[in-house]
């Protein structure tokens, strides 16, 4: 920023200039453009690997969902991603960076599992509601630790929430290897199977699709109302956009942190209930294949908007299923799925930049000083 130190050079300069009025239409279309570009990359990639590009795309994007069962699997995978991402979005909108949803999911599942394994509740109609409440509270309790440390000691919630993920995983391991191990489980590290009353009902016979997706749809609606139509949601958005404006208006920063962390914790805890009481029916060390982390990507791909997140969750889920399907049917390496996810994110961010900025290439003398910005 030193003004009297301008160094001139003659170069070709590529610069990004902000567009005066970014096109609204392009803002909505850019995710589609990104998907199209990802597919184009797929075609090139398949061809380079010596596979039929069309067959590859089919294996990736069509085959996983060309049956009722396929669609059910898509929804089962999209559901936890979506619900967690919505909870996280409430925090992210307020600049509260909860990275520990994975741990909150695990603790939510443990809390729900504890309810499910109470002999007194084995036949009760209250079991499932109690599990849902316990799961949400468990996730919130785990998220409350970084929230409290942040508001009390200004500890960084990114680090604390992330590290608590490992604590949660070790807690789960301790329980399923120790006190909660299934006596009839041939020493496998797993809890006993939940009783029928503790299982989320199946929605479509013959598939694994269970009522956890209804929880997720409810979360989409609640998240939308909260972020777009409620005053606390507005306060959260203001805090995220400008801390000075929030202080000026008298909005509490502590409340933003608490609301953001607890929303993420509750959503992750509910996702944990969905896994334990939906698809698994017991507690396992490998409860979640990293949903809590992938949901962070889903939240941003969905632009921190509940409806966008719903689509992003479906898309991310499809990429997972497509990766598996392509591995099985075409012998593509497992890395291909990860590559597709990376490419999609890259193209999304790239198109976003181009919606808001335009590229200017010019040959001109320029200067290292920045005083023109004054």
């Amino acid at each position: 920023m030193w003004p009297n130190r301008g160094i001139a050079w003659q170069v070709m300069r590529i610069s990004l200039e902000p567009r005066v009025a970014p096109s609204r239409a392009m803002r909505w279309a850019s995710p589609l453009v990104a998907v199209a570009l990802t597919m184009l990359l797929g075609v090139v990639l398949f061809a380079a690997l010596g596979k039929d590009p069309l067959a590859g795309l089919h294996a990736f994007f069509i085959a996983p969902i060309d049956s009722v069962n396929g669609v059910a699997e898509l929804l089962i995978k999209a559901s936890p991603l979506t619900i967690i991402a919505i909870g996280l979005a409430v925090g992210f909108r307020g600049n509260v960076w909860n990275i520990g949803a994975e741990g909150q999911l695990v603790v939510g599942a443990i809390a729900a599992g504890w309810v499910a394994l109470q002999p007194a509740l084995a036949e009760s109609a209250l079991t499932l509601p109690a599990m849902i409440v316990a799961g949400a509270l468990g996730g919130m309790a785990w998220a409350a630790i970084p929230a409290w440390l942040r508001t009390r000691f200004n500890a960084n919630e990114i680090l604390v929430s992330l590290m608590l993920t490992y604590v949660a995983q070790l807690l789960l391991n301790y329980l399923v290897f120790g006190p909660w191990r299934d006596p009839q489980g041939f020493n496998a590290p797993q809890s006993p199977l939940f009783p029928e009353a503790a299982m989320l009902p199946i929605l479509i016979e013959g598939t694994r699709l269970n009522a956890s997706v209804l929880l997720t749809l409810t979360a989409v609606a609640v998240g939308w109302v909260f972020l777009s139509r409620s005053f606390p949601g507005y306060q959260t958005r203001v805090s995220g956009l400008s801390g000075a404006a929030a202080r000026y208006a008298g909005f509490s920063e502590r409340r933003t942190v608490w609301v953001g962390m607890l929303a993420g914790g509750a959503a992750a805890g509910l996702a944990g209930v969905g896994e334990a009481a939906g698809t698994l029916g017991q507690l396992l060390p490998s409860l979640s294949p990293g949903y809590g982390f992938i949901a962070i990507i889903v939240a941003f791909v969905g632009r921190l908007h509940p409806v966008g997140i719903l689509f992003a969750g479906l898309l991310m889920s499809l990429l997972y299923l497509g990766g598996d399907s392509a591995q099985i049917s075409m012998g593509l390496p497992a890395a291909a799925a990860a590559l597709f996810q990376g490419a999609l994110l890259f193209f999304l961010l790239g198109t976003d930049v181009l919606v808001n900025y335009r590229v200017r290439v010019r040959r001109s003398a320029t200067t290292a000083s920045a005083q023109g910005a004054a």
Partner: protein
């Protein structure tokens, strides 16, 4: 001046367009050697862009630049400096943790020895009557002294043209007078000066010629010594300068905002501690707080608004109730409204719509029921604000950042006033606002006072304070001067006080003189 000497700088048909606006459109301008040439115009008239073109920061789209008769392409500020052009920006670019000599040495080519630089600084400083200690750290200098460092930095080169962008906006009247003496001396030595300002009195007192810009075009040229300020204002804004209507004070209202022995330590390294600040603001009056920025205004405003709370609850009383420990929300509930200096990012969120920005502080106007937003109420309030305060914008859905500074300020002022506050605090209410909007805003403050609100205005512009205030007080180094009725004081007295030198404040003055020329 006949025969006309060769102009030092000549601009021919300069044009520069930005994506949304044509900043300069066919501008012709010439500056003679030894001439002080004023560039006069409102905010957004294109003055700054033109100067950046001359200084090589910005390249024109078309047009020609002649330097001492020869066409030249000003490739960069370094190139401009080689030719002998220096520029002092409105916002200084000095490293606060370095000494004056170190700051100046950084601007020089090669690696000059600091002792040598210090000697040269002292020699030039003496010649032009700008006392400054080369070994002092910049953070210990007053704003006026920092400006001298900026000018000295230009003068160490062989200077032929000095560009000054609104230099007096940060100075006391006395410091401005000292600066004028320096500039006259420089001009007498043959240096040309391009002087950017919208203050007509200054230009009349200082400049030999004036070129007037409006909306990117030259709308007039004159000899400011001959022309009346009213005539120059007409050239500048295209119509007669409107004035405020000010009725005499309605008498003694009840105390609405009181500070009693308010002290507060700075929150930033180069902030100012507030020391024993006391005042009483009454219903139906405008109390003005004058002072050079950086003398505790930010700290005082944060303490009064509740953005920073105090340990001592009784240090601030709002409508008779102690509220030192109350936060900003609680004080707003008690009837306090506040228009801060920073519009974007504090008073308004740049990327949010005007409707969402109305919600920021006016949410108590029935906009929220059971925690949910009532968009019709929000929309109606926003429209009312836009209409009543003449906000030029694309409607309630327009983003705050799409408004000009003046229009956004009218919107913010409207948002706060429409909440019918018991106390309104306004910081720099017309800073960076065009002349027409400034008059509108000042009139709105006067109307509010006439309606019985207690109004506190913190401003660096003395003319503004004298125009609207009933009583005046000065803040310097975190302390308040005695209060004076505006009718019983004058610019000279307040200007002296701005350097901390008021009658019963002998202990405040420190050895280092904080203002202009009378240090030794």
């Amino acid at each position: 001046m006949d025969p006309r000497p060769q102009p030092r700088l000549e601009l021919r048909a300069i044009r520069k367009a930005y994506p949304a606006v044509v900043a300069n459109d066919g501008i012709d301008l010439d500056v003679l050697p030894g001439e002080i040439h004023a560039l006069l115009g409102e905010n957004g008239a294109g003055k700054s862009t033109l100067m950046k073109i001359v200084y090589g920061v910005v390249q024109p789209d078309s047009g020609e630049l002649l330097w001492e008769g020869a066409p030249v392409r000003m490739a960069s500020p370094a190139h401009a400096r080689e030719l002998g052009i220096g520029m002092v920006f409105q916002h200084f670019s000095l490293f606060e943790t370095l000494t004056v000599a170190q700051n100046v040495a950084l601007a020089l080519p090669g690696k000059p020895s600091l002792d040598d630089v210090a000697r040269r600084i002292e020699a030039i400083a003496q010649r032009y009557g700008m006392p400054v200690d080369p070994r002092a750290h910049v953070h210990s200098l007053s704003i006026g002294e920092r400006q001298r460092v900026e000018i000295l930095r230009c003068l160490l080169q062989d200077l032929k043209l000095l560009i000054m962008d609104e230099p007096t906006s940060v100075l006391t009247p006395q410091a401005a007078t000292a600066l004028f003496a320096t500039l006259r001396q420089l001009a007498a030595d043959g240096c040309s000066i391009l002087y950017i300002s919208h203050k007509l009195d200054e230009i009349k007192a200082l400049c030999h010629r004036a070129t007037v810009l409006r909306a990117g075009r030259v709308t007039g040229a004159c000899d400011p010594r001959q022309e009346s300020t009213a005539a120059m204002a007409r050239m500048m804004i295209g119509r007669d300068l409107p004035t405020c209507q000010h009725a005499s004070s309605s008498g003694e209202g009840e105390p609405r905002l009181e500070a009693c022995g308010l002290s507060l330590a700075r929150s930033e390294p180069f902030g100012t501690d507030l020391r024993d600040v006391s005042f009483t603001l009454r219903a139906g009056e405008i109390l003005g707080i004058a002072g050079i920025s950086g003398n505790g205004q930010q700290e005082l405003l944060a303490a009064l608004s509740g953005e920073r709370t105090l340990a001592d609850d009784a240090a601030i009383r709002l409508c008779g109730r102690p509220c030192g420990r109350a936060g900003a929300a609680a004080r707003r509930r008690a009837g306090l409204c506040f228009v801060p200096e920073e519009r974007l990012g504090r008073a308004a969120i740049p990327s949010m719509s005007l409707a969402d920005n109305a919600l920021l502080t006016a949410h108590r106007e029935g906009m929220v029921v059971n925690g949910l937003l009532r968009s019709q109420v929000i929309d109606a309030f926003t429209r009312r604000c836009i209409d009543a305060f003449d906000v030029r914008c694309g409607g309630p859905a327009a983003e705050a950042k799409s408004l000009s500074g003046g229009n956004l300020q009218k919107f913010i002022m409207g948002r706060e006033i429409l909440q019918r506050p018991k106390v309104l605090i306004a910081a720099q209410p017309t800073w960076g606002v065009d002349v027409g909007s400034s008059v509108f805003i000042r009139q709105a403050l006067i109307d509010l006072r006439n309606a019985g609100t207690a109004v506190l205005v913190v401003s660096e512009e003395l003319e503004e304070l004298f125009e609207i205030c009933d009583r005046l007080v000065v803040i310097a180094k975190g302390r308040l001067s005695p209060v004076r009725a505006a009718a019983e004081t004058n610019v000279e007295e307040i200007g002296t006080w701005m350097s901390g030198l008021w009658p019963d404040a002998a202990d405040v003055a420190e050895p280092r003189d904080r203002v202009a020329g009378h240090a030794h």
